[in-house]
Point group: C2
């Protein structure tokens, strides 16, 4: 499937926001990030106990978060410890704050 008819000229910011959003687009991934960021940071496969999904499915979701750069893994045999990628996390925070915080044009007379 092609993405557009002609030009795919998206801003880096636009691509980044879309990319991070795709990673956040499933509630279970939001849940995982919450667990990692909030409570007991640096979890392992204890996620499997907290989430009631097949282990393979959770692993897939972790991969999505990894690919988005939002988390990082660290092998600690025979387990793997995951935690938030603070750098990327902070970048995401700024990106979204800037996006949602963008002002409204002066001529908006809707509603």
């Amino acid at each position: 499937m092609q993405r557009t008819l002609t030009s795919p000229d998206y801003t880096l910011d636009e691509e980044s926001i879309a990319s991070i959003s795709r990673a956040l687009a499933h509630p279970v991934r939001v849940r995982i990030l919450r667990l990692l960021a909030g409570e007991t940071c640096c979890f392992t496969g204890e996620l499997t106990g907290h989430i009631s999904m097949a282990q393979s499915t959770i692993s897939q979701h972790l991969k999505v978060l990894l690919d988005a750069g939002l988390i990082q893994g660290q092998i600690d045999p025979p387990k793997v410890k995951y935690c938030i990628n603070r750098e990327r996390w902070g970048l995401a925070e700024e990106l979204f704050a800037g996006f949602f915080g963008s002002g409204f044009g002066p001529g908006c007379d809707c509603e």
Copy 2:
């Protein structure tokens, strides 16, 4: 396709973040929101000029943003004027700020 094996017990916040994220998960929708939020309030037709996608495709993306509540439409025959739904926009801003701003657990010793 089933969503989970057993419990779908997601928080309202988790669902909301996932839902809004799905709407932001395509760069062209981020672009559209930027145009609506930043510049002036737009008619659909002006978007057609700015985006180089089939009119039907743009209309579909607008529908996604509408369903997510991020924008609102106002008919002004024969055109339709779209603009940001400020209320929802502000709520999204808070949601994401709270999410990304959530602190890290004291025990994070990763990396």
